[in-house]
Symmetry: C2
Subunit: 248 residues, 2 copies
């Protein structure tokens, strides 16, 4: 979700930094109070599965800190990531009983949850919450469609460059950094998780990261920390024309 969205207001964030951002920057005091009643926090450790596909899901939630993923698995074990949730992203669907995907914490994670039933009731009484959710869902749909282009038509090298660009930009947006020096950030995913994101094997991911490093498109410190000396070069490698897009 786009952190620069015009409805956000970092000023009015109280003790729950996400609640306001995600659903109710436009709420009045009574509504905030009502949300407060149905809200609770949950913490997870890296690697922990939050919900298995098919499980009953009686809450909706915002990611506060950390990273979660949505994945689908076929009977024979093939896995595809279908959602990457960074702080401020929303998970859960009003009006659905059961989770359609596995939700997993890939780093230590804190989520701000709302009990589903009262949240749904509140949504009906409070239209702008639904409107905000619609905006967020439409953004997610756009991201999914960019992702489909990546999965269907990009080469392994382009996929890796795209992933690095996506994470780098979202990270920069999160830290609200005013353009200074080369983009630098940690990859918050294992090679295997990247492979599940990109529809590749982890060996191919590793090889292509090495290739981009060898060719000077990225630099690595350790295995996770990335330095992008030239963002335009990276975007070119990613096969991206649209450079406003690609926000997951």
């Amino acid at each position: 979700m786009d952190l620069t969205h015009n409805h956000f207001s970092s000023q009015d964030c109280g003790d729950c930094p996400i609640r306001h951002r995600a659903v109710c920057a436009r709420c009045d005091a009574r509504e905030l109070d009502e949300l407060e009643q149905i809200k609770y926090y949950r913490s997870f450790e890296a690697g922990q599965t939050i919900i298995w596909s098919g499980d009953r899901m009686d809450f909706v939630a915002s990611v506060v800190t950390g990273i979660a993923t949505l994945t689908q698995t076929m009977e024979d074990g093939r896995r595809q990531m279908v959602g990457l949730l960074l702080p401020s992203d929303f998970v859960g669907r009003p009006g659905r009983e059961r989770a359609p995907y596995d939700v997993t914490a890939t780093t230590d994670l804190v989520m701000c949850c709302f009990r589903k039933k009262p949240f749904e009731e509140m949504m009906i009484r409070t239209p702008h919450i639904g409107q905000r959710l619609l905006e967020m869902t439409l953004d997610e749909l756009d991201a999914a469609r960019e992702w489909m282009l990546l999965l269907g038509r990009k080469t392994a090298r382009e996929k890796i460059a795209s992933l690095v660009a996506i994470i780098g930009r979202r990270d920069a947006a999160l830290h609200l950094s005013g353009k200074k020096g080369p983009l630098t950030f940690d990859l918050p995913l294992t090679r295997e998780a990247m492979a599940d994101y990109l529809g590749l094997t982890l060996e191919t991911v590793s090889r292509q990261i090495s290739a981009l490093k060898r060719d000077g498109v990225i630099e690595l410190e350790g295995k996770r920390h990335v330095i992008v000396p030239d963002l335009d070069r990276l975007l070119e490698e990613a096969g991206d024309d649209t450079d406003g897009g690609l926000l997951v």
Copy 2:
């Protein structure tokens, strides 16, 4: 979008069969009248492009009859379909100026359009329109995620079987057919369009269709008309566990 959705009511559809279905099965008379004011029809021929990516788009619309596609294109011409719009599907995003994808009619097509500005204003005054749009968008997001699994992890044979199953089921749903005999329907896409849908080349599409035919999974009359003698067999070939899913 799911035609069996509980908010649909085929009874209350007037001269615009889609208007009610898509956005306002719950509208009262005044609201219907208001929609009437901002509504108009547009027809397109097979193959015609409705909007190019980047164009200004001053309407939202429902497909009445025929089929449209959303596609993305890279600079070098690689193309990926990211949306398949069948009758009753919605296209356009309130709050967005420009189209992010090419929209093309793949068959003769009639759309029921609403001028965007007044539609947006009406959405704010009439919450259940927004709620219905949220439901539809969430369904589309689910479909996009199934599609991502297909693009990222399925083999060419599984992809073809999945596509045939998706189209066959949606066709069956549209005709509200009460289970009778083997599933039979037309593929509304050229081999090239199927390739763009599936992230394959048209040659591979052709070969795999031939293979499924040879193996008795499907039968063909001409090049487009498909008979599915055993749906379970087809779904097995598609690698589908979830057999409620896969509605695009």
